[in-house]
Amino acid sequence: MLDIAGRIVGWAESGEQVEAVVVHERETEVRAYEGEVESLTAAESRGVGVRVVRDGRQGFAYAGTLDPDALAEVLREARDNLGFATPDEHCALAEPDGVAPAEMDLYRASVLDHPTDAKVQLALDLERLTRSADHRISGVESAEYSDSVSESAVATTTGIRSTSRETGCFLAAYALAEQDGETQTGFGFSLGRQPGDLDVAAAAAEAAERSTRMLGAVKPPSGRMTVVLDPWVSAQFLGIVGGTLSGEAVQKGRSLFAERLGEDVAAPILTLIDDPTDPAAYTATGTDGEGLATRRNVLLADGRLERFVHNSETARRAGTSSTGSAVRGYSSTPGVGVRAVTVVAGDQSPAELISGIRDGLLVQGVSGLHSGVNPVSGDFSTGAEGLRIRDGELAEPVREFTIASTIQKMLHNVTAIGDDVQWLPMRAAGVTLVIGELTVSGV
């Protein structure tokens, strides 16, 4: 793949910079339903994206193939497209910066070697175990095994030659629980780098537990209360916070944290780190979308805003260096973003945290993050479901309500952090997070 990327770069004309990104992905997905294989997908995708920069203008083109004639056409198109861009002094490709990629082994050949029949069996077992986990489980909407092998290469005329390869797989079950004509849902999952890492029983038990404990849920009264976000929910919240710290959002006046470097923007117990070099992170990777090494970036230290993340272009504009945070696929130019945000864990277990809350809510699921959260203004409002907390104990289930605040207030209102940091298949890790006050809208 690096050969292909290098070949395209070799076609550069004098006075222009060329970058080629080549991607190869293989995926297997098995879905089980009622004891049978519902679908089995064997997928293989290749793609190439080419960026050409000349005189501060960039053009881009991509194709979902690595056919030799397509490569030349993509380069031609990208070159043609650059003429329409507005010149900008900061527009250029990344330059090698001497930072070596973290030594991580994120590739397991066993994902490819594992027999398809065994992968099928994992999905069938997941469906069966979920169904039989509790007599109130009325069905399994989906039970899925999925794996991927991703390889990519980046080459540029500025001397970058980088490759990376990662494997990953997961099991996910979505259970339906029924009682007295009412249906509730819950999911469970297990993830790893190879099939042997997966825990079918745990995923099934979690899906059953999360669905059955919602049976009998009522709409809670409106009011302000202490809300505990479970890891699945806090990961989504922390991912949004990480997104507001992109250097691009800051420079373009779209971040609520612009101009606030060095200020206390969160509770002092919150230290937020983006670390794609932690091999435990499901989203770990040694190189970024421009082929530079990823690195550990402290975003918030004891509540103080320490840093925005950058790709090479936003770094140049800010007069700093790239934080290895270019994110992209082959079909887009590099954006800027966090990959693996995590917190410094607290020392109390979720149960201990809950035992200290007299009246509150545990939120186990949120919906409408894309429609009710505005990362520019900071307004935060999502649909939610979960369990009431009464006198330190989990009590009755509640649903059809929203939780609302602003991102700014929520960060200051983090009153406790659990000891249960866990990596999830998203750009942030999850942890039990206690928010001292949120507005709950129900009846």
Binding site: E38, A43, A85, A404
Partner: protein, 485 residues
Amino acid sequence: MIDGALEGTMVQMTDRTGGAEPMLDPRLLQDTLGVALATGGEFAEVFVEDRRSTSAVLDDGRIEELTSGRDRGAGIRVVVGETTGFAHTADVSQIGLRAAATAASAAARGGGAGIRVVALDAATGPGPAVVEVLPSDVPKARKVALLARADDAARSRHGAITQVTARYADSQRRIQVANSDGLLTGDRQIRTLFSVSCVASGDSGLQTGRESVGHTVGFELFDRIDVEELARLAAGRALTKLDAVPAPSGEMPVVVGPGGGGVLFHEACGHGLEADLIAKAASVFAGSRGEVVAAPMVSLVDDGTMAGEWGRYAIDDEGRPAQRNVLIRDGVLADYMWDHLRARKEGRESSGNGRRQSYRHLPMVRMTNTYLEAGDDDPAEILAGTDRGVYVAQLGGGQVNTATGDFVFGMTEAYLIEDGRLTAPIRDGNLIGNGPAVLRDIDAIAGDFAMGSPGTCGKDGQGVPVGDGTPTLRVARLTVGGTAA
């Protein structure tokens, strides 16, 4: 059956694709289906797709880039009993197609192996939509020029507009479908989109406003819409919100403006009426056909044939002609939406709702253009008759749990209603309700029908373009998820 000389052969299919560009030779498709069925498959299908796209973005006052994309490939599925095997390839030569067909058939192994020859019969269905100006015939400079006009218009609207993003995008998607029932058909789908997002900055912080227009038409879109007007609307939305108060919290009447409410129906019941979810009892609407599920003035339609609309196509991604399907008639659940597999199990016809994001994906039941038919009420009277509540002028997407019926949708332009009048603008947030309850709680529908903005509907990780529309309507009770008491 087919010799090697056929490899990579292209033929002209001028009758079906409306253009002179080649898709695959029927003999090559026939050969592929033969391989796909070799291990005893009951049904096999080859879906060929060739998509070309152009997009251009202006941000921070400059044209950042123009992007050209090309994606071409084929997805092959084989069905045996309850099992579907699927494989896809970007290599549409005989070698590539045979390899994918073998992989798909291995995934769905049947009992009786053997050679089955499929006779393909070119369908005489609806032809592709007529487009006046193919985007590929328009110089890139003309597309890019639209962006600067939008940027100027938004910024000159007011000095508080501190950031503008304008985006132009067009795509030409050509598809070809052949299956073991002998179907051979194709379509060409053209889409053109323009959107503007603005940031306004004031004492209250930052606010955003967005407006977009998209249709299944070519570049003639810009003879009909004024990108400067679009930009001023987006800017106005952001400026208005600089004075916005926190949204209220709790249950209250909600009035949704014309064109704005489609997302509400898309989430409240649209997804719940998709036959794949019904079959798994993962929808609150399972087993409700023929029953009263909504207020009597509610008639809901999903119509893939609406000329020019964002969710329009001649044939779906299984080769079935698009249809106008009445989902709810006068409050009674008339029918669900169907794809090939679910319809086949029920021994009925597909409703033309089998769609997929690309050749890399399996088709499933999806909406097209979903709309609420106009009612008899006067929009002004609906507002005047609402003492205290929220008026939502623009919605910002939503999400539903079809099994419980709970759904949310966002408001990106909304106002308080006090004593029957619109008062303060309110900040962004979600509303939450339960589908079956909300359908019954609709107590007014006006006659001012309008289609809404182009949308992308996500399901199981696949995004497809959809349209929606509504007249002004009122829901007697919905939970508004703000922070004000």
